[in-house]
Symmetry: C2
Subunit: 727 residues, 2 copies
């Protein structure tokens, strides 16, 4: 496999040497140009740049001659030095076309095509001794990416961004799938509304989330998914968020104008810059087909190639964990002691054991046994290390040391046991938001992992950030997450970060950063429940930036089973299976308790079988908030998996199999909702049936309200052909 | 030597087991006590505690029946929970007397006596479910220390200090030696004035210092030295500043009331606390003799014993450096390249060499040769590592990586060379204020030092702090400096921190933290000059908290010698020698250029001879702002050294030698100002003479304006007795 290499990360054209078609022409103009336009390779999109009155830069975007973005201003406000806002002239423009492919280490498809036309506009401010600013636009068939670039020059060295004025002026009152703008959390439920309705819905949407910092003015988060009345799907986000703060979107509910809202630091600044430098890419993915939004690789294409020489140690992971029992079973805790005030300097063997500690040697061994028996790669263990007695909400620096196990967790014994069983234990580093403490102890923590055979870590950032005054989405933390991922790579460790800033495609560059949380995941099913449509929105929003550790696979959906309350997971059992396909991630948890998988072995079989890495992906149908059906081919295997989900409405869908190689017969194992099933009644009713299919087969399948369908496909044996019926 | 051990840092009475006199009686009162008093062991000081109206705690202090502090309020304001300000009743008081001794690893004396009477008052707030607060007062013969203690209890766990209300209500309009209150720098020149004059002098006193944050209300820094009209010397400071922010003093120029002003963090909080916990000690050193202020070991006694098991590797150091040439010689730079915008990711071999880089292999070798030839322990090398081209003032995170030498600094070659010559190279870690970056790279940086034979590091914090919004004097940075010292100890590395919070005696606990800057030192002689009285004030102010790396020993005092300007060091040559005795430090630099020492070999002999560690110290005479004369006996050697300095006024002093063992004759080598010398004319005029002395001898000695005297003493040989005259 040809893996891209980062020989020179600063040269965006290093792939051109691979012999693809290049069109390069430079318009070295010293006169002012009034408007510059490029089209996408398929000519559907047109990007126009122009300077308006007072030399203010604007851009606009059309799709099939329909406006997507009206003229929208560009500009950067700075502290202490004059702003990059107006007084510009165009001193040069360059256009280039690029068409090449690259291979991700893991992903939804083995080959990704990077095909765009680029316009690079060099502007100068006469009043600032011709200080230059460059705007780089890349127009793909599926959308636009653009960024600000600040060349090193006589009068530009260090500067502070106090505000970014990038406008996204929408053309109408689109249907919008949004969560409130917040500097510290993405763990909100989605609201679907017209843009104009956002103000009246904002208070209700701003539900209580720990350590939240809702933006005080009207703002929503990216990736923001929208649909226009005339059927255009538009997604606004950013790519390659490095050394800059995360962008939210200010909303004007009357004009439908949106604009960048950067996350401030402790003293209100947005970013500290040193020329030569650049902002992240601002991205606008556009299509008249919702499926094409999900299929877009624009954000990945705008990220830099792999930063590592050796990636042989990076592998997708399927895992179980000592985790769900903390939320539902009521039988175990993260904490070992009953005390509510501990310090790392305490002698934890002197605490009063609650008798309900989850991460015991014995319990972890049981999980290792289960993983070994079922071919699961790894076991996540939370609550193994001292400090959990009062880890939460105290804005405390030294909550954890990441290297000291509780007295009943024998790290050495478990290292040996897991090794014998061929299972990995997944480390857990909850920081409680104290990033400084984590950085201080990071090398020792990673060395500890290497000493005891761990090769992956789930990091957590629950709580207010330390450095105090910084935010989860600010520049300092943005750099922190990347620092952790890069340092982990030095130890050949893979990372799954929770409560971090939402992803922007950086897993292309740092592929050991397998997945993130950064959204409302399964844990909320045990804390009030998720709306049945939630997971039909996530792929159009949060997942646009990168894989999510959603932790699906809850087969015991009725949580009253555990003897308390009347909570339920708001899906059918089968929908939980479908998630392994509809929500792409190279890191997939089988989140339910092993004992529940033992109760439903035929349903669990799908979780055991389903791949976590793919040769190719077929977005078969999709509508945000309503339904998604996706088929994928397992990486390097003649196996295919299909997942389909619906929102709170039942539906009947027709699933084709035309991607299968012709001339062969296949066995489809179909996991379907029971006839009486729905998300809130008989949710665990399901059927498993097998049938013979060919590429020409079509499956008409009923999905229950809040339900789904999951299918595994492999080539039929001669026995299959005898014993099974055609679909 | 018996070295104290920190078997149990949380028990302040662990020394009692050594069999000293103990008086312990507990007044377990459940009724409210109106006033409690203790006296110092010599009965000179009396501390009275009482609750006044509304249950507000007050203390007062008298010396020989004269009030030192009028009734002064005590209290702590908190965030989110009710304050510790009023509504108190006394639920218990305990008194204890302690008299023991301990041996510092290094210091001004081999044995330190710890002799105090203590009053521990337990208060409770009825309205807060009897929440308790303890006030611990320790009254020594030389002053008072007291602190707030917060026991762990049902309704007190985590809390935030929003304000401390500790008053120091002075009795009159004292003469005060002060610098402006500032959260980020101590590098001010001292102003001497009445308290009432501080407002009108504040603006002038707030001279320009890089990255300064002067307090906006009227405030001054500690250690604050005062003298009352009736001859009482009073010094206010703090001891054991750990996990809390540094205290400045609010000033009321009309009532002479002062009060604690804590350094805020990025969001305005003062300290994050977790019970069981305590504040630092607030200290008031009092005497009617100025010399006793300098002799006080109260601050050291209030610090915790040594935190390390093994201290054998901790040694005082005399050193030279590639340093002064950056300030005066005009021949060299810290930076290698001429560029003004670099990144750590740049290839520094591609920079344009200025040809004036100071830290070259060749130049360092010359310094190693000089150190080896003259018995100097170490050579400080600044500017050895990449990043100096634009290190200053950019609030930049990644200025330095601490492990990459410039192309012309061969770290491997110099390691071998220094090893051969028996000289250590002293590492330099300038952080540019980016403490986060330093912590991130600390382990690698210290490992690099071990790999290349470095055993001491000069750290620097020039610039605005990162985490942004934090201050040099805030809780986060206070913990940072201690973290660096403790981590350095793991690598057996000694630390000399510059631009850190001023010291509070923590070198007792962490004796590898040899010295700090935290004041205006010699470098300012090259940047406008220091007032001749400056160094007669420093021992009464900055040095009360701990040793200073003042970097004395400038023999070429006229800086126009280097061909530019008309600057001078504002002392005589001899005063520079006297500093090695008058300003105690276990880390003493011979700061001038080796070539200058070669020009004045007889004067340099004193610097070569003078000890850096002591068996005992004799403060012979002292008056803040005017003069200081100190004699010290070298550690484990029959050698004594005397230093005397005066301010801008010439004076004649009489120096006794009565501390010398009786029955022997000694040779005194007397380094004296030339008759025509003064700090601003003929400053380099000096004489060196030898004479025989006995314990009964008295030396009448003239000190020039801004001058000094330095004397080395050893036993006379028979040859000496023949060839030398009696004094």
């Amino acid at each position: 496999m040809s893996i891209e290499r980062a020989a020179n990360l600063s040269n965006p054209y290093r792939h051109l040497t691979r012999g693809f078609f290049i069109l390069l022409f430079s318009l070295a103009c010293i006169i002012q140009l009034h408007a510059q336009a490029i089209t996408s390779p398929d000519k559907n999109l047109t990007l126009t740049f122009e300077l308006k009155e007072n030399g203010v830069p604007y851009y606009q975007l059309t799709y099939k001659n329909k406006p997507v973005l009206k003229p929208s201003r560009l500009g950067i406000e700075t502290k202490d030095i004059p702003p990059f806002m107006e007084g510009f002239t165009v001193v040069n423009t360059e256009q280039v076309s690029v068409d090449n492919t690259w291979n991700p280490v893991w992903g939804e498809q083995k080959v990704i095509r990077n095909h765009f036309n680029e316009l690079l506009v060099t502007l100068a401010q006469k009043d600032q001794e011709n200080r230059q600013l460059r705007l780089r636009f890349r127009l793909f068939n599926d959308g636009l990416g653009f960024r600000y670039e600040f060349p090193e020059q006589k009068n530009l060295n260090y500067f502070i961004v106090s505000n970014e004025h990038t406008e996204f002026n929408l053309t109408g009152n689109h249907k919008t799938f949004w969560i409130p703008g917040d500097y510290d959390t993405n763990e909100y439920a989605y609201t679907t509304s017209k843009i104009s309705e956002i103000p009246q819905l904002m208070e209700k949407a701003t539900i209580d989330v720990h350590a939240q910092s809702p933006i005080k003015t009207l703002a929503v988060q990216t990736p923001l998914m929208m649909k226009s009345d005339d059927g255009l799907y538009i997604n606004i986000h950013e790519a390659a968020l490095v050394n800059y703060s995360a962008m939210h979107l200010n909303v004007d509910p009357k004009t439908y104008a949106m604009s960048s809202h950067l996350t401030p630091d402790a003293v209100g600044n947005k970013a500290y810059m040193q020329a030569d430098t650049k902002t992240p890419w601002r991205t606008v993915v556009v299509s008249d087909k919702a499926a094409k939004i999900l299929a877009s690789k624009l954000i990945l294409n705008l990220n830099e190639p792999i930063a590592y020489e050796d990636v042989s140690w990076i592998k997708p992971i399927k895992y179980i964990g000592v985790w769900w029992e903390y939320f539902v079973a009521g039988k175990s805790n993260w904490a070992y002691g009953t005390e509510t005030n501990v310090k790392l300097t305490d002698d934890f063997t002197k605490l009063t054991p609650s008798g309900r500690h989850g991460a015991t040697t014995e319990n972890v061994k049981k999980h290792i046994d289960f993983a070994a028996a079922h071919g699961i790669d790894a076991v996540l263990v939370e609550g193994w290390n001292i400090g959990w007695e009062d880890w939460f909400g105290n804005w405390k620096e030294d909550v954890f040391d990441f290297v000291t196990p509780y007295p009943d967790f024998d790290v050495r014994e478990l290292y040996k046991y897991a090794l014998t069983k061929g299972v990995k234990i997944m480390m857990h580093h909850e920081t409680s938001g104290a990033a400084t403490n984590y950085e201080r102890r990071l090398h020792q923590a990673f060395q500890f992992m290497k000493d005891y055979g761990y090769n992956s870590v789930k990091t957590g950032y629950v709580g207010k950030i330390i450095p105090r005054g910084e935010h989860h989405d600010g520049q300092w933390m943005v750099n922190h997450y990347i620092y952790v991922a890069k340092t982990a790579a030095d130890y050949k460790i893979m990372v799954n970060s929770h409560e971090a800033v939402r992803p922007t495609g950086l897993h292309r560059t740092y592929p050991n950063w397998l997945a993130q949380e950064s959204a409302r995941g399964t844990e909320f099913e045990a804390m009030g429940g998720l709306d049945p449509e939630h997971t039909t929105i996530l792929p159009f929003t949060r997942l646009m930036g990168g894989p999510m550790d959603y932790t699906p696979g809850i087969l015991q959906t009725d949580l009253s089973y555990y003897g308390t309350g009347n909570q339920r997971v708001n899906t059918t059992l089968v929908k939980q299976l479908a998630y392994y396909v509809t929500m792409y991630s190279p890191l997939q948890m089988a989140a339910d308790l092993p004992e529940n998988y033992n109760r439903f072995p035929d349903a669990f079989q799908f979780i055991k079988d389903v791949a976590v890495d793919w040769d190719d992906t077929y977005i078969q149908e999709a509508e945000p908030g309503d339904y998604i059906t996706i088929a994928r081919k397992a990486k390097n295997e003649d196996e295919w998996f299909v997942g389909g989900i619906t929102d709170e409405n039942p539906r009947t869908t027709v699933i084709p199999f035309d991607y299968l190689p012709k001339g062969k017969t296949y066995v489809a194992t179909i996991y379907a909702d029971g006839k009486d099933a729905s998300w809130n009644k008989n949710a665990q009713s399901y059927t498993v049936r097998k049938a013979l299919i060919t590429p020409k087969s079509m499956l008409k399948q009923h999905l229950a309200a809040g339900g789904g369908v999951a299918i595994s496909i492999r080539e039929a044996t001669s026995d299959d052909r005898k014993s099974l019926k055609k679909l």
